[in-house]
């Protein structure tokens, strides 16, 4: 009869086990061992804990870890993003919405008036980063606690994503500064008359 669950055979306790006290004391020795080990560790200043003291100490994530998105800027502080919408086209979750605008004072005419990512929809696939021709969006922040008190706040806006990493200077920007001939402006040459 295959549908009968075989009975679980209990192991017979030996004498010392059947008087609970010995086993209890054994268990208590184990736990006390942990206590002593941890106290000594604390006194010696070498933490023996398995836990991490989270917000201050973070689990070091891999360099390829895909954290919250950020928008990079050019040396003059403007967005590198030119609202080409490659990212929103590539996005499988359709969570990026961009509204393009025209910057009349800039040789790079197009810029994002709005650039919103709905982080509730985002699946962190990183296709947007792959798709971006301008290195304007990156997921290298290593920020993994993306949370808010409202759905509205879970939509990361343009300026938020720019300021997410304020103070941090990625290598590429440094590189552009040192190699201005390769910067996007280098190709454009003469500034033309501007559309009123």
């Amino acid at each position: 009869m295959s549908d009968v669950t075989p009975a679980i055979k209990k192991r017979k306790l030996n004498t010392s086990e059947s008087i609970y006290l010995v086993e209890v004391l054994k268990g208590m020795a184990i736990t006390m061992g942990h206590v002593i080990k941890n106290i000594i560790g604390e006194l010696k200043g070498q933490s023996t804990f398995d836990t991490m003291e989270y917000p201050e100490v973070r689990k070091p994530v891999n360099d390829r870890f895909k954290g919250a998105h950020r928008l990079t800027t050019r040396p003059d502080g403007k967005y590198k993003c030119v609202a080409c919408m490659c990212c929103s086209t590539a996005c499988p979750a359709k969570c990026i919405s961009i509204v393009a605008g025209e910057d009349a004072d800039d040789p790079i005419e197009k810029f994002p008036v709005r650039f919103d990512i709905d982080m509730l929809r985002c699946i962190y696939c990183g296709f947007c980063v792959e798709a971006c021709p301008k290195d304007a969006i990156r997921m290298d922040t290593r920020i993994y606690e993306i949370n808010a008190f409202s759905r509205q706040d879970m939509i990361h806006t343009r300026d938020y994503m720019r300021d997410l990493m304020a103070g941090d200077k990625p290598e590429a920007e440094q590189w552009y500064r040192e190699n201005p001939q390769h910067s996007p402006e280098g190709f454009l040459g003469e500034v033309p008359p501007v559309i009123p």
Partner: protein, 481 residues
């Protein structure tokens, strides 16, 4: 000052002291429970709350806890039977506190005649018993009071008008009734052996020699009685592995499901107060109470200079050792870990937040934990200095002949011995709780009725046999005034 007045004042002072004793240990136990659990489970435990950067190893956490429990809304569910529901936590707490009144926490303090006559208006020296209620049936009183504790839990469970609470209460009642018996058996064996139920007399008997300590009396009667008593104490206090009234998984919370705010706090504190009382009674019955092994009160009084030297050197070394460790810990492993994290860090996370953090920042510019360890270094070094200073002062005073000071030093020393025993007992509670799993109801009943009760009965028989054959025991009987 009349004799009556003096008695009343002394009684009041002792009451306050005993209440304070229990209530001061409770927060310490809560901390010990959390930290002990954490260390057993290889984690740091509470370490966030701080006052200007000092966290005192998580001790500060109790303060916000208390504040939270006091300021929380007192929710009274509409379906409870209000009078009993309100009474239940009070019963629980008060019973735990009242039980402590018969436990002696020290030898007598003998106030010399000249001081007593001058300030207290007595004729001759005054001997103060360090015990609130010096009653004949001390042990029976303990049994009586602890069995009252079940009412708190039972009434809470019943009056909550909630099936989970009711089941919790029922379990508690059943368990208490079963283990009350085993405990009683253990105690009967002990007072047969001691020949008295007066706790101060029992203490006097134990003072004579370490061989007179309850646990060693009439082997194995004392030991078996201790085990019976101690196991029953776990059940009486509703502590793991016998904490059936509180089943998180199956009973939501158990008998206190409907309680919040300070009413819940009373249950919570009652549990720890019970632990203190149970430990105190155990120490008194089986481990010589306030006695230091091999050294009784008379010896302490006789060699007060040696005692001072021992305390001075031992305490000083301890404090200096603590200071040196604190000094060495100014560079915390925590910071090594923090620096090891080589990623960008969002601005929104600051190491210190809130008003407390702002204050701290206004005062200091080093990191929080470095600051804390600096303070610890200062505290421990200061304690060492104060310790040496006080001991020196005491020595000078004794040299100039101050018997009252001798009495006080003896009292403090014995009290310390008592506290150490009590705390160890409490630690046993915690230790066991985080080691063993909870018993099933039927296992609990099996253990109580099928094993512990027969063993208790046999133990009584054994005690009786010892009474008949052991001259030493007879000598003890003779010593009773």
């Amino acid at each position: 000052m009349s004799e009556t007045m003096l008695t009343v004042i002394l009684a009041l002072v002792k009451c306050v002291f005993s209440l304070a004793f229990v209530m001061q240990i409770v927060p310490l136990l809560i901390w010990a429970e959390r930290k002990g659990a954490a260390y057993i489970q290889d984690r740091p435990g509470p370490n966030r709350a701080h006052i200007l950067g000092v966290r005192a190893g998580g001790l500060i956490h109790t303060l916000p806890d208390v504040f939270k429990l006091i300021t929380k809304e007192d929710v009274v569910p509409s379906h409870v039977f209000r009078p009993l529901w309100a009474l239940a936590p009070i019963i629980s707490m008060s019973v735990a506190l009242v039980t402590f009144s018969v436990v002696p926490w020290g030898d007598q303090i003998l106030i010399p005649a000249e001081i007593a006559e001058k300030y207290l208006g007595t004729t001759g020296p005054l001997a103060v018993n360090l015990q609130v209620a010096d009653i004949d049936g001390g042990l029976l009183y303990v049994l009586a009071m602890t069995s009252l504790g079940v009412y708190g839990i039972m009434l809470a469970g019943w009056s909550s008008n909630n099936k989970f609470s009711l089941i919790g209460g029922l379990r508690s009642a059943a368990q208490m009734v079963s283990y009350e018996l085993a405990m009683g058996m253990g105690v009967v064996a002990m007072f047969m052996t001691y020949g008295t139920t007066r706790l101060d007399t029992i203490m006097q008997i134990q003072s004579e020699s370490i061989l007179n300590w309850g646990v060693l009396l009439s082997p194995p009667v004392g030991l078996v009685a201790f085990i019976l008593f101690w196991v029953s104490a776990f059940a009486e206090c509703n502590r793991n592995p016998f904490d059936l009234p509180e089943g998180e998984a199956e009973l939501v919370a158990g008998y206190h499901t409907e309680y919040s705010s300070l009413r819940f706090a009373l249950f919570f504190m009652a549990e720890y107060a019970n632990m203190v009382v149970a430990s105190s009674v155990t120490a008194t019955l089986f481990f010589g109470g306030y006695n230091i092994p091999f050294v009784n009160g008379a010896m302490l009084r006789e060699h007060i200079d040696l005692v001072l030297i021992a305390i001075g050197v031992g305490g000083g070394v301890f404090f200096l050792f603590a200071a040196s460790i604190a000094f060495g810990r100014r560079k915390d492993p925590f910071y090594a870990a923090m620096e090891a994290f080589k990623g960008p860090r969002p601005n929104k996370l600051a190491p210190v937040g809130g008003l407390n953090g702002l204050l701290y920042r206004a005062l200091h510019d080093d990191t929080l934990r470095q600051h804390e360890w600096k303070i610890f270094t200062a505290i421990w070094a200061g304690a060492a200095a104060a310790h040496f200073g006080l001991i020196g002062l005491g020595a000078m005073n004794i040299a100039s002949g101050m018997p009252l000071l001798t009495e006080i030093i003896v009292f403090v020393t014995q009290l310390n011995a008592f506290v150490v025993k009590v705390l160890f007992g409490c630690w046993m509670f915690i230790w066991v709780r985080w080691t063993l799993p909870r018993f099933r109801y039927d296992q609990l009943m099996d253990l109580g009725w099928k094993y512990m009760l027969p063993i208790g009965l046999v133990n009584i028989l054994l005690a009786a046999v010892w009474l008949l054959i052991d001259a030493n025991t007879m000598r003890l009987y003779a010593a009773i005034p």
